[in-house]
Structures are given as structure tokens and as C-alpha cells.
């Protein structure tokens, strides 16, 4: 006697099924209706603090729709031209392509392509109403965070006053990012798009008292003062050498405003972050002949972005590692140099690093001037202690992490001033949220419950049999290199931009490398006839049909092991044979082959659009 049909299916093939059956911890079907699941599949967008819809604008670039690509960026990150040159690019290490080959898509440089080649954009930006809504807001600090708040709230009719200690808007983007990385025209263009929205500016105005600000009749105050205090280095000789020693960010600001026009022939830059890279490269351009960047830690632990280190090395900057500074050495009332000791990094079993002296003799590096670029801190000496605005750990304001509201309900923070130094894109993302909070607060709504949900859309890309509305072909090209200005020319003038940006052709080719991760693979279980066609055709073995089980167990039973735990498994409802479809999102090429080979359209490629709602686009349409 034999056993037939359904039962036999279980026993014969899938002993594991029985195993899984008795365990109640099988994976639940993935809720594809949750926009955050699909959002996470778009790695670059998910990694971006502002969640810019990256693949969407990359496609527009490939179509030469630079203006549209720019506007998608502008809505999301406010400064596409600036960020296209200077962003920290958290999107790029996240890029799926980086898991399939050596280099991710040059997302940041593509953003610049949109900015460089765009047409007229001003008419596409939200218009500011002539009749104001009667509410006044003060923005303290004129950097990316405050400008973002201004951009989001001015179109809603708020009257906005912006205060900044410097003579122009842009904050650290103006004072700390050198012109050879960010030309002043690019900065001013994007800052002015916002200031032209009828923002009342109070430049050269250092706000020295929050108490005063609170009495000026503002309905809300936003603090976007950044992390303006460069760290000092208190080692022997520091006081004596003071005339020859500068704090990095102050020195960069001095150069930007042309208070500092030259530097000594021999320069030491202390520190291994991006500010150190900007200081050393700026030195090279205003008179330094030998520039040593001396870093305490090993090369691989340097905080600077790899591409900035690369650019510095290309300009013959010397980077020396494992050398903490010990003493400033003076000779005849002049700085002779800095004495460094030698260390090596050792790691304990928890991976914690300590720098251990090697016992080698100390090294003296000669210098005429020394620039200290070892970090920066927040500084709120102007916020009085008795006004009810609580400052907590490290003198950072006590804030609601979602709303950015301080303990004084009408005062909001954003950018580096909120949670400490990060980067421009993070400041923008936080400021969008603070702007929403201010709008909700001044409309008498709940800052948490009434927050707008993201705008999402999911549209099938099916155009015909096996035809998609997006370019599904995966190209093999490796990352295109951005051309650089000739070294002699760029080192001669600190205002000459080093990177030249992609031209249209290189921009198109680089854009084609994008895998379109927002073209989502959507599976409808009740259409599936389990013919395995999708599983067979998938070039990267993402799809499996297996008995369900615990996630850990399931990950090892797939067509290819799913060892990247940061990437989700897409699990279907149980199918007719009691198996489930499991797709490992990790290295899906979004090539659409699964859907092309599916006879019943159980797979469909659907374009997913996700955009964080901003104050100026969304608060009125909140539905809870």
C-alpha cells in the first residue's frame, strides 16, 4: 500500500516540513503593505538620512531630465548642488551594487550631474504666499538645518527671521568647506533659493542670549547653530606656541572670509578627519610647501572619507599615522615643530582599541604653523540656565528624538546643535522633522500623533508581455572615474574646483549602473503554480521554494545561503505544496527575469516611490 497525494508530498520530499510544522516559530508572511519593508529594499534611499529617492532621480538623469532629477533632490535634501560635491554619502556603502562587485554606483556624483545640467528650476519651487499666516519664527544659525526649516515653513506663510554671526548664509558649508571642493557660486545659488523666499536675514548678528530671543515675540524658535567650537589640544608648549597654532574650523573660516591669506612653508595638521583633509589641502593652496597630516590612530581608522584622503594624497600631502602629539617645541621665540611619540594600536578581546607606546624615540616634525583639527563640539554659552531649557549630557539640549522639541515647548533644535556633530545630510533630515513639529505646534496639533506619514506609491511596470516600463537590463560597467582639474592649476588657486564632475555621457553611463532597486519584486502567492521558473532563471539565486521554518534555519536552506542578516527575507503565504516562496533581498538585481519567466504574473515588477513628507507638502493632508 502506498500513500498518495498531498500526504506523500510531505513525507517524500520534505521531512524538514514536519520538523518545521511542530515548531510554531515558522516565519510569518512578509507584510508587503508596510512601506518600510519595501523602503529597506532600496538600500541607498534607506541609508540616506533624508531618504532621498535615489534610483528615481538616477533614472531621470539617464533620461536627461536633469531638472526633474534636481527637483526630486531639492525637495528631499534641499542642497543637491552642494551635497553632490560634499555629501558624506552614507548611500554609497549601502548600495546593492557594492555587494555584487567592487564599487557602488557613484550616487553622489550623479546628484551633481543633475545640479550641473539642470534648466530653470525656480518656478518649480513652492511659492511663498503674499498674505502671511500671522506666525513668526526665529532661526538661530544660518546653516543647512536653519535653511531647511526656512524652506519648509516659508511657503506655508510663516514670517521667518534668520540670525547668523557671519556675513552670509550657509553656515559651515560656507565657513568650513573650502572653495576647491564647493565653489561659492554653487553655495550661494542654493542658499539664495531659500533666502529669496522672503526670509528676513540678520547677518553679522551673534545671538548671545536665548532669554532675549524669547522676549522678542516669536511664536517658535529653531536653533541650528551647529557644532561651532573646534577642539583644542592642551599639551606642553601650547600657550607659548599660540601665535603659530590654529583651530581647524576657525582657520578654515578665516580663509573663506579672506582674513587669512597665507600660511607658513611647513605646516602640520593634527587630526585624521575631513576637517583635517580640508585644512591640509587648503594649506597647500595658500603657501605651504610641506604639509604633514599627523594622526594618532592607524591609517585604516582615520575618520576622513576615503575619497578625501585619496584627494589629499594626490596633492602630495604626507599622512603619518600612529603618532600622538606630545609637545610644541619653541626655539628663539619661534615655533620649531611638534614632538610626537610613536604608538601602535592594540585591540582587546572586545575589539576595544588602545594605543600602546612602541618604545621608539620621539619624532620631531618641523613646522612653521600647526592646525588642530581633532574634532568639534557643541557650545551653548548663550543659553541661560534659568529659562527652562534643559541641557543634558555633554551640554546637549534635552530633546524629543522624534519631534526635536526642547523642554521649552516653543524651542526646537536640529542639525549638529541637536545631537552633536554629524553631517549636512543629517542636519537637513532633522530639520525637515523639526519644521513639521513647528508647523504642528503652531497649528495646535499633536506633535507625535499628527505627524504626516511618508508619501508612498507602488505601480506595476508591466507594459506588455515581458516588457517593463523601466530599463531592466543590468550593465556590467565598472564605476566611472570623475575627471579632476590639472593639479598645478588647482593647487595654484584655492577657488579652482578640483573635481570636474561627470559630463552628460559619463553621467548617463554611470546612471545605467544603477540596479533600480525601487523596481520591487512583488509576489502574489495565490497565483503561483510552483513551476520554479523564477527560481531557475534568477541569476543571483535569490528565490527559493522551501518548507517554512525559523529564520535562522530557513536562511541556510535557500538556493544560496542568506548570510547577510541586515537584508530581509521576503516570505510568501503557504503555497499549495505546503512550501513557501522565500526571496533573499540581499543581491537581487531587480532585473525582472523572475517576473518575465512567470506564467501567471505571480511575480510583478512594481515601482515603489517613497518620499518623506515635508511640512510644506504634507501636514494639511494628514490622515490618522
Amino acid at each position: 500500500m502506498s500513500i498518495y497525494g498531498h500526504n506523500i508530498w510531505l513525507i517524500k520530499n520534505y521531512m524538514q516540513y514536519l520538523f518545521a510544522f511542530f515548531k510554531s516559530t515558522s516565519m510569518k508572511p512578509t507584510n508587503i503593505k508596510d512601506p518600510e519593508y519595501l523602503h529597506k529594499v532600496v538600500d541607498c534611499q534607506y541609508a540616506c538620512p533624508a531618504h532621498t529617492p535615489v534610483p528615481e532621480y538616477i533614472r531621470l538623469i539617464a533620461e536627461k531630465k536633469y531638472t526633474e532629477a534636481y527637483m526630486i533632490n531639492w525637495d528631499s535634501n534641499v542642497f543637491p548642488g552642494i551635497l553632490g560635491r560634499t555629501c558624506d554619502r552614507p548611500c554609497e556603502p549601502a548600495c546593492r551594487r557594492g555587494r555584487l562587485e567592487e564599487e557602488p554606483v557613484a550616487i553622489c556624483r550623479l546628484k551633481r550631474v543633475a545640479a550641473d545640467h539642470k534648466g530653470e528650476v525656480k518656478h518649480l519651487m513652492p511659492q511663498v504666499p503674499l498674505v502671511k499666516n500671522g506666525k513668526k519664527i526665529a532661526l538661530i544659525g544660518g546653516g543647512p538645518a536653519s535653511l531647511t526649516v526656512a524652506r519648509d515653513l516659508a511657503p506655508l506663510g510663516y514670517e521667518i527671521d534668520l540670525y547668523d554671526e557671519w556675513s552670509g548664509g550657509g553656515g559651515m558649508m560656507r565657513t568650513q568647506i573650502p572653495s576647491f571642493r564647493l565653489p561659492i557660486e554653487v553655495l550661494e545659488e542654493e542658499v539664495n533659493y531659500i533666502l529669496d523666499m522672503g526670509i528676513t536675514t540678520h547677518f553679522n548678528h551673534f545671538v548671545d542670549s536665548m532669554k532675549d530671543m524669547l522676549t522678542k515675540g516669536y511664536d517658535a524658535i529653531f536653533v541650528g547653530t551647529g557644532a561651532p567650537k573646534g577642539r583644542n589640544l592642551n599639551i606642553p608648549g601650547r600657550v607659548e606656541a599660540d601665535a603659530h597654532v590654529h583651530i581647524g574650523i576657525e582657520w578654515l573660516a578665516g580663509v573663506a572670509f579672506e582674513h587669512i591669506k597665507s600660511v607658513g612653508k611647513k605646516v602640520i595638521v593634527l587630526g585624521g578627519g575631513n576637517t583635517a583633509m580640508d585644512c591640509c589641502r587648503t594649506s597647500k593652496r595658500i603657501g605651504a610647501e610641506v604639509v604633514n597630516v599627523v594622526v594618532r590612530s592607524p591609517f585604516k581608522n582615520m575618520k576622513a572619507s576615503p575619497w578625501e584622503i585619496e584627494d589629499a594624497l594626490r596633492e602630495d600631502i604626507i599622512i603619518q599615522n600612529n603618532m600622538p602629539p606630545k609637545e610644541f617645541i619653541m626655539e628663539d621665540g619661534k615655533l620649531k615643530g611638534v614632538l610626537f611619540s610613536k604608538v601602535r594600536a592594540e585591540y582587546d578581546k572586545n575589539g576595544k582599541r588602545s594605543l600602546v607606546p612602541t618604545g621608539e624615540p620621539d619624532v620631531l616634525i618641523e613646522a612653521d604653523e600647526v592646525i588642530i583639527a581633532i574634532g568639534q563640539d557643541n557650545s551653548f554659552p548663550w543659553i541661560e540656565k534659568d529659562i527652562g531649557l534643559e541641557l543634558g549630557k555633554w551640554d546637549l539640549p534635552v530633546l524629543n528624538k522624534t519631534t526635536y522639541q526642547s523642554t521649552l515647548p516653543q524651542v526646537f533644535f536640529g542639525g549638529d546643535a541637536a545631537f552633536g556633530p554629524e553631517n549636512v545630510i543629517t542636519a537637513v533630515a532633522q530639520a525637515h522633522q523639526a519644521a513639521i513639529s513647528i508647523d504642528l505646534y503652531l497649528s495646535g496639533k499633536d506633535l507625535v500623533k499628527d505627524r504626516p506619514s511618508p508619501y508612498v506609491n507602488l505601480v506595476s511596470q508591466k507594459m506588455g508581455i515581458h516588457e517593463w516600463m523601466y530599463d531592466s537590463q543590468v550593465v556590467d560597467d565598472i564605476r566611472y572615474q570623475v575627471p579632476h582639474e590639472e593639479k598645478t592649476k588647482s593647487l595654484a588657486d584655492r577657488k579652482v574646483e578640483v573635481e570636474l564632475g561627470f559630463d552628460e555621457i559619463a553621467g548617463f553611463k554611470e546612471a545605467q549602473r544603477c540596479l533600480n532597486c525601487d523596481a520591487q519584486t512583488i509576489f502574489t502567492a495565490n497565483r503561483c503554480i510552483e513551476c520554479d521558473a523564477c527560481m531557475d532563471v534568477c541569476p543571483t539565486r535569490c528565490i527559493s521554494f522551501v518548507p517554512n521554518g525559523e529564520e535562522e534555519d530557513l536562511r541556510q536552506r535557500l538556493s544560496a545561503p542568506a548570510d547577510n542578516l541586515t537584508q530581509d527575507l521576503y516570505v510568501s503565504e503557504t503555497l499549495a505544496t505546503q512550501r513557501v516562496m522565500v526571496k533573499d533581498e540581499d543581491v537581487c538585481l531587480h532585473c525582472g527575469l523572475c517576473a518575465e519567466r512567470c506564467p501567471t504574473a505571480a511575480w510583478d515588477m512594481q515601482m515603489f516611490f517613497y518620499n518623506v513628507t515635508k511640512a510644506h507638502t504634507g501636514c494639511e493632508t494628514v490622515t490618522v
Binding site: 498518495y4 506523500i8 555584487l100 515581458h466 510552483e530 513551476c531 521558473a533 539565486r541 506564467p599
Partner: protein
């Protein structure tokens, strides 16, 4: 529409013992209908060859005409191939095998190519026990010419192109016929069940002699409808499995003790083993008569019997029967073939 597959593959997938990635065993992107069972079989062939560590240039894939016979384009792009005249694949395979016995021969055919136009060739290649694997991708219809019933369409089965009429003729059962003709390896499987098909294919390709696998492979376009006996749903509901098969390469020892009653280990000529856990009673895969009885009984019950039905691990293939030399014939040089004037003289003297 995609005409080429992206060149990326999963970065974590390993190379096999002969240094190839699974992608190296794949072929061009399939142009068969989406969801065709044949594509599943192609994928299983790719997997089997990868797991058997076959170097692609050591394999020859041969086919006739039909949807099934198109599939060699879709697997093993780096192997030898011959797309022959309709139903004449066995002749080509025989010729090729005679010339070079060192290659692994994989014949792919369909129900039309085998059970109709190629029937004459099919029976003779079995009779000669040619050392090859012969797969019939059996969908019960002529998919390439709009789905007319083929000779393997079951009596009473309804196909899409039949206008609702059921098949009035009895089907040719290729498995029964292969058993009748003393094929040394006979199996049946289902394209929708790779866990069964994969070890069967590996065993077939390791078998010395003629290995026949009839694979029921639904035609999604013309024969996957209600009333068809070769539709995914019907096959899944009526499948009857003889047992589960494990293919054990010779370097792996059998680690678990097996139960004499329900498990059987068969050693092939090259010391690879197949271990079979039997689900069916009164049947022994090395006993032709018990296998035949089992097949008849199952047919009577309206079930589709799958698995390894019969194997003769000691079978002698055509080269052994003909007692050919060890060196493949295509490698014999003139010095090997021409004994020289002296020898000829001696022979001639013998006739005087």
C-alpha cells in the same frame, strides 16, 4: 524583454571541485513559454552537472526536434551539442559514442520526438544499451505546433487545443516500454519536483549503460488545464512515489546505518552509490519483475508512479558488448589501426 542574463552571480556560491561556478553550467536565456516544465528540467541538469563535478567540455548534449529538443541551448553552453533531425537523436548519439566513449552523453527528447517519429530509433538504442542518459520531457502534447495530443497523452485527458474533447486513444507508456526492452536504468519523475529529479539525474548520468528518465513536464500554454493528466495540479494530486533517492559520490562514505527492510544501497560501476529509502512495498529496484508489477498496479489505480523503478548496476554497455578497445576510436592513430606490411603478409599467407 531580456535577451541576455545579467553576468552577476551570487557572490557566496562556491566553485565545485573542478573549479567551475554553477553559472558556468548555464546556457542562454530560455525562449520557451514562461513556466514551461522543461526549464525546470534544464535547471536540474545544470545543478546535477555542477554537483557531479563534470567539466563542461566532457559532456555532449544531443537532441531532436521539439520544445524539449530546444532546451540544450538553455543549459551547458560550454559543452558539445548536436541538434539532430526529428527523432534521430539516438543515431547521432550512437555514432558519437562509438567514436568517443570518453564523453558523457546526455540526450534530450520529447514525447513527439521519442514516442512518434523517433520510436524506431528509441527502441533500438535501448536494445543496444548505449551508455547515455536519455531524458524525455513528456508533456503529452505537441507544444511547438499549438498543442495537439501526442502519443503519450493519456486516454481521457483533455487538452486546451482539443476543443474540450478528451483523448480517444490509449497512451504509449515509455517507461513500460523501456522496461519491456530491458533498459538497464528506468525512472520517472516530475519537473515540478526537483528534490526527486536531481538525485535521479545524477544516478542516471553515473550509470554505465542506457539510463532512461521519463519526466512529466507540464506544458503551461496548451496542457495545464483542468482535465489534463499532465497539468501541475493533476500530477501533484496523483503522484505516487516509490521512495526517496540519495546519490552518494564515491568519496563520501555512507555514514548512517540503513534499515535493511526499507533502505537499499546500490553500488554503481564506478563505486558511486545510490541509497534508496523505499516507500513502496513488494518491490525491489534491482528486480525487474517486481518493478513491472508495481508499474502495472499503479497504472490500474490511476496513479503516476515516480522514482527509480529499475536498475541493473552490472549492465554491460555497447562498448563492452562489442568489446571495443579502451582507447576511444577517434583517438586511434594510423599506427594503431594499420598493423603493417609484415602482419598483412602473414595474414595473406594464411589464406594460401
Amino acid at each position: 524583454m531580456s535577451y541576455t542574463k545579467p553576468s552577476f552571480s551570487h557572490p557566496a556560491l562556491p566553485r565545485n571541485k573542478v573549479g567551475y561556478l554553477k553559472r558556468d553550467y548555464e546556457g542562454a536565456i530560455s525562449t520557451l513559454c514562461a513556466g514551461c516544465g522543461h526549464d525546470s528540467i534544464s535547471a536540474t541538469i545544470v545543478q546535477a552537472c555542477y554537483e557531479l563535478n563534470i567539466e563542461p567540455h566532457h559532456l555532449a548534449k544531443l537532441s531532436g526536434i521539439g520544445c524539449s529538443s530546444k532546451t540544450p541551448t538553455y543549459f551547458m553552453s560550454n559543452s558539445h551539442g548536436f541538434n539532430s533531425v526529428h527523432g534521430r537523436m539516438p543515431s547521432i548519439a550512437t555514432g558519437a559514442n562509438m567514436a568517443n566513449k570518453n564523453l558523457i552523453y546526455l540526450g534530450v527528447s520529447g514525447d513527439g520526438d521519442t514516442a512518434s517519429i523517433g520510436m524506431g530509433q528509441f527502441v533500438h538504442v535501448i536494445r543496444r544499451n548505449l551508455n547515455m542518459t536519455y531524458i524525455v520531457m513528456n508533456n503529452g502534447c505537441y507544444g511547438l505546433t499549438k498543442g495537439q495530443d501526442s502519443a503519450t497523452a493519456d486516454f481521457g485527458s483533455v487538452s486546451k487545443s482539443g476543443g474540450g474533447e478528451s483523448t480517444p486513444f490509449q497512451a504509449i507508456d515509455l517507461v513500460g516500454m523501456a522496461m519491456e526492452l530491458n533498459a538497464s536504468f528506468v525512472a520517472r519523475s516530475f519537473s515540478g519536483d526537483k528534490t526527486q529529479l536531481l538525485p535521479l539525474l545524477k544516478a542516471a548520468m553515473s550509470h554505465q549503460g542506457f539510463a532512461f528518465i521519463d519526466v512529466i513536464s507540464p506544458c503551461v500554454t496548451f496542457n495545464n488545464n483542468t482535465g489534463s493528466t499532465k497539468a501541475y495540479d493533476y500530477v501533484r494530486d496523483h503522484i505516487d512515489v516509490l521512495g526517496s533517492l540519495d546519490f552518494i559520490p564515491k568519496e563520501d562514505e555512507i555514514k548512517v546505518d540503513y534499515d535493511q527492510g526499507t533502505e537499499k544501497v546500490i553500488t554503481l560501476f564506478d563505486d558511486t552509490k545510490i541509497s534508496l529509502s523505499k516507500l513502496a512495498q513488494d518491490w525491489d529496484p534491482t528486480d525487474k519483475y517486481s518493478a513491472r508489477d508495481k508499474l502495472v498496479q499503479s497504472k490500474k489505480d490511476g496513479h503516476i508512479l515516480t522514482g527509480l523503478l529499475y536498475i541493473d548496476p552490472t549492465s554491460k554497455d555497447l562498448h563492452q558488448i562489442l568489446n571495443t578497445v579502451d582507447t576511444p576510436l577517434n583517438q586511434l592513430q594510423e599506427t594503431d589501426l594499420y598493423p603493417g606490411d609484415d602482419v598483412l603478409e602473414v595474414i595473406n599467407q594464411g589464406f594460401r
